[in-house]
């Protein structure tokens, strides 16, 4: 025991400030995300799904799993994206029960635009030098508990694509 225990001191000012800063980052993240989606007249959920599908077409069921919501909700979201010509439903040759949701050409374009105008932290991160970003990566990795780089699904970086 070198200095004051950092595990028992649950409300020390330093930890609280870091938590607060993370809250700020989270808020900033959403502001950017919603603003980017809004530019294309998309809701957050729609933008998220479109971003997912731009990586690879997915069965409805898989989308629900990625979004952590009930499959019945996906129907409506895809309906709206389809009505706007950004997504289309394709039959799955292997299983005639499943429908694959895939982005159209325009959908891909919008997804790309979204990703570019989005990419939160690109701006904020620009403030940091390479060394600092390396340091930040290390700290975040430890926070996230990603010791070796084991993500449940390689295609799913996080909740928000």
């Amino acid at each position: 025991m070198a200095t004051t225990s950092s595990r028992t001191q649950r409300t020390d000012p330093l930890t609280l400030e870091v938590v607060e800063l993370i809250g700020t980052v989270v808020a900033r993240y959403h502001e950017e995300y919603d603003a980017a989606a809004g530019k294309h007249a998309l809701t957050g959920a729609q933008a998220r799904v479109l971003g997912l599908l731009s990586l690879e077409p997915l069965p409805m069921r898989r989308i629900a799993q990625k979004l952590k919501c009930e499959p019945s909700n996906i129907t409506g979201i895809i309906d709206r994206l389809e009505a706007r010509g950004l997504v289309e439903r394709r039959p799955d040759p292997a299983d005639r029960r499943v429908k694959l949701a895939a982005p159209t050409e325009e959908g891909l374009t919008v997804a790309r635009s979204l990703r570019e105008s989005l990419n939160f932290a690109r701006e904020p991160l620009a403030e940091l030098s390479r060394e600092e970003r390396l340091s930040l990566r290390g700290l975040l990795r430890r926070m996230v508990g990603e010791d070796a780089g084991l993500l449940a699904d390689p295609a799913t970086p996080a909740g928000y694509d």
Copy 2:
């Protein structure tokens, strides 16, 4: 120019990974937040408002400003919190147009419980030493652009109380 420009290289792997990690943190943040709210059968918005009011009673208008939504939405949220006996509407002696939303005793208790079970990052941060948390704070501060500690509203740390 020491190494490769870090501002023009917009898609370098390091930056992308950090962005990805931030996305993971954001997702984790919400999981914890929603789980904590769910334990009390509260929605995210309700928990957020209750948390705000636990710091100080606020006019409906102010709540909308803090949540960055239209004032008309607050009516319903406060209605539901009031129906559950967690919040009450008080007249403002100074201006009879405004109604102050204030937590009840039970509301304060729930808010406290929420804050305790919540406090995201307390666990993850426990993994970091004091020095590492100091380092993380510094990096986040720079990301957030909080050079001196100038927040628009001292009572509002972030989007999520």
